[in-house]
Subunit: 132 residues, 2 copies
DNA sequence: ATAGAAATATAGCCATAGCTATATTAATTA
DNA sequence: TAATTAATATAGCTATGGCTATATTTCTAT
């Protein structure tokens, strides 16, 4: 049963990372460009472009050809939920005593495999610690 | 930087799950059959067969056509390391207060994204708690 | 205004992991 | 032993996400 859940998580995690990153870029730079996404993810621009097309087809993204990218409401919802969850996991790892760099790296993968129940426990753990 | 690490983890995690499972089957039933692997992973037998062929080509598995499967030394090493890590993560989640079922499901995904440093912290946390 | 640079898009390739349908071999049972 | 059932293998399809090379469009500077 668990393996099926993990496979489902893997289907959505690339989407989650893209949407979270796009939201961050929109927030910090005012626009999200494919070239920035490719840089942040350390992938080729053609790869980023292809995935962006998929996200557009799936209704997560608004865009015009050759223009920068925006989130639909559907996309925003996933982005903000993912960001919150990411932050909880990151703080949790740091509260466990892990250095910021390692915690960042691990959180990037772990975040997609944390259930609601586990997330609640992490939040509780964070509340009892320094980094909240 | 982190995203590249996560992608690398995803490249190896299916391999790790297969080898860990094969080791378990060899241990409990004396042999590992493709039909059992497919059942445990909740995938079609053809899919399991194809991945087993890949693992064979990559030197993790010994096999004869139409016969059950064994691990090479290389395969055994990854299996035992993965099993140990899996166990640490599972115990850690349970020590955090998560029920066994949820902890099992989450551990199946999280295990592949845990660095050596984080693993050490989890072990330390486990030592201070009940479930070791 | 236009040439060159930068960004985006597309084409065509690879690997992986899913699936169903079908063929082949092995194991069981009548 | 022969027929049936079970297991394994193969073929052919889909989707995803990597890559490089090249085309197209937009932006920037001269
Ligand atoms: Mn994230
Ligand atoms: Mn992530
Ligand atoms: Mn796993
Ligand atoms: Mn993962």
């Amino acid at each position: 049963m668990s393996f099926r859940k993990v496979r489902n998580a893997h289907k959505t995690e690339n989407t989650e990372d893209y949407l979270e990153l796009i939201a961050e870029l929109l927030n910090s730079k005012g626009e999200a460009r494919i070239v920035d996404i490719a840089n942040e993810l350390s992938i080729a621009q053609a790869t980023a472009n292809k995935t962006i097309q998929r996200l557009h087809n799936q209704g997560f993204i608004k865009k015009q050809p050759y223009r920068s990218i925006f989130l639909t409401v559907k996309g925003q919802q996933i982005a903000s939920k993912s960001k919150k969850r990411h932050n909880t996991v990151l703080k949790f790892l740091m509260n466990l005593g892990i250095d910021q760099k390692t915690a960042s790296a691990d959180a990037e993968g772990i975040e997609h495999h944390v259930s609601e129940k586990t997330l609640k426990k992490m939040e509780k753990f964070n509340s009892a610690k320094k980094i909240v």
